[in-house]
């Protein structure tokens, strides 16, 4: 088994979940309405919990403890895509990111349910059932606000235009992409991107939002090889502030 390729795959998935989970949790207490406050907080709990399960899997493959991996690395050691680390902005941006990312995520876990690495396939079968609530939530609100008022449509359109280059960065191929595909761990980013595009097109066609021609969007890459925006390190500093006071403390 090509363990290096497997770990590479697991790290980027877990890092995406952890960082977006943390961003979602920043809505706790600040949601535009109570229901959305609870929704983003619940999705945060799901995503952080899912990242923990994948870090545990990495731990069984010889990597460090989940807490150490989550709290003791610096930004350049994280392999999340840049989309998930961007600040929440206003609700319209968080919602657009939630839709673009979670559509990719549920599709990714659909593929992973057939992974040749059985523990990952088992976990993916479980996670994809949970993610249904996330994508249904995103789709409901995008359809609602994407057909509502001039302001809601205008705001979502602005955020969509801003998020799309980063969203294409989700599919930045891993340095070990060929090994990952050849080992049957995952179908690969290209296949995932194709399905994601179809789903995004279909949902947006039910709104008054315009999807620019894919060819005109320049993907923002780098996240998968540890290159990040200036927003990731402050997020990590805040997330790990308490843990780093005493990394050996028993919680």
């Amino acid at each position: 088994m090509n363990e290096l390729a497997l770990k590479e795959l697991l790290y980027k998935i877990a890092d995406d979940q952890l960082i977006l989970g943390h961003r979602n949790s920043e809505w706790t207490g600040f949601g535009p309405l109570l229901e959305e406050d609870i929704a983003f907080s619940s999705m945060a709990q799901d995503k952080v919990g899912q990242s923990y399960a994948i870090y545990q899997m990495l731990n069984q493959l010889g990597e460090q403890e989940p807490d150490t991996v989550a709290f003791m690395r610096n930004a350049n050691q994280f392999h999340n895509c840049q989309l998930v680390e961007l600040p929440n902005g206003e609700y319209d941006f968080s919602l657009i990111r939630h839709f673009l990312y979670d559509t990719a995520e549920i599709t990714r876990f659909d593929f992973l349910a057939n992974s040749s690495y059985e523990p990952l396939a088992q976990l993916a079968r479980k996670i994809k059932g949970e993610l249904k609530y996330h994508t249904l939530h995103a789709n409901t609100w995008i359809k609602k606000l994407g057909n509502a008022t001039e302001e809601s449509i205008g705001r979502l359109q602005g955020s969509l235009n801003k998020a799309l280059p980063y969203a294409l960065g989700i599919f930045e191929p891993s340095p070990l992409e060929q090994e990952i595909i050849a080992s049957g761990f995952f179908a690969g980013e290209e296949v995932l991107k194709k399905q994601w595009m179809e789903k995004v097109e279909l949902l947006l066609s039910q709104t008054q939002l315009n999807l620019p021609d894919w060819k005109t969007i320049q993907p923002v890459l780098g996240g998968r090889v540890g290159q990040h925006t200036e927003h990731l390190q402050p997020l990590l500093d805040e997330m790990s502030e308490v843990f780093r006071i005493d990394p050996s403390a028993e919680w």
Binding site: I38, D46, G49, P119, Q122, L123, R125, K126, G129, E130
Partner: protein, 161 residues
């Protein structure tokens, strides 16, 4: 070993969901396997939600229960081999949920869209003049609803496949 597998399951019926004290872990469907090897008992559990923060607590409760009954070589592991779905809640478990005031989940395959949760029967009056308030609730496994007949809010144990 003085216990059979079936007897271990019966013992574990005393261990309840920490947030739903009327529902045993066995009826919740999270105990997926019991193995007896000489004097050792091994229990396999699976979480309702991957991010369930009560899992470690439940794991310890299971160990405690086994030890209380004189089983010193007890171990519990977490597995996703047989993943949990809301269909794993037993009929007895569903009745307990309802009595506790939580609407039991509909069969998981019927959960195709948020709209199907619009008129969940109220666990108090059984009426369907209800409304979905939020598919996300106070814990990962619950949604929030409102009954127009009782004029009160209630929660549902969410369907998950």
């Amino acid at each position: 070993m003085k216990f059979s597998k079936a007897e271990i399951f019966t013992l574990l019926e005393d261990v309840k969901d920490p947030e739903i004290p009327v529902l045993s872990l066995v009826d919740l469907g999270v105990i997926t396997k019991v193995d007896i090897d000489g004097e050792a008992v091994h229990v396999e559990m699976t979480p309702t939600f991957v991010g369930c923060p009560a899992l470690d607590f439940m794991k310890n409760e299971v160990l405690e229960k086994l030890k209380e009954n004189g089983i010193t070589q007890a171990s519990v592991s977490i597995s996703f081999k047989e993943p949990w779905s809301s269909d794993k809640i037993s009929e007895k478990g569903k009745a307990a949920l309802k009595q506790f005031g939580l609407a039991p989940p509909m069969p998981a395959h019927l959960f195709t869209d948020i709209e199907v949760m619009e008129h969940v029967p109220c666990p108090r009056c059984e009426g369907t003049d209800t409304e979905l308030k939020n598919p996300f609730g106070p814990t990962l496994c619950r949604s929030i609803h409102y009954c127009h007949t009782c004029k009160e809010a209630f929660e549902q144990f969410k369907p998950v496949s």
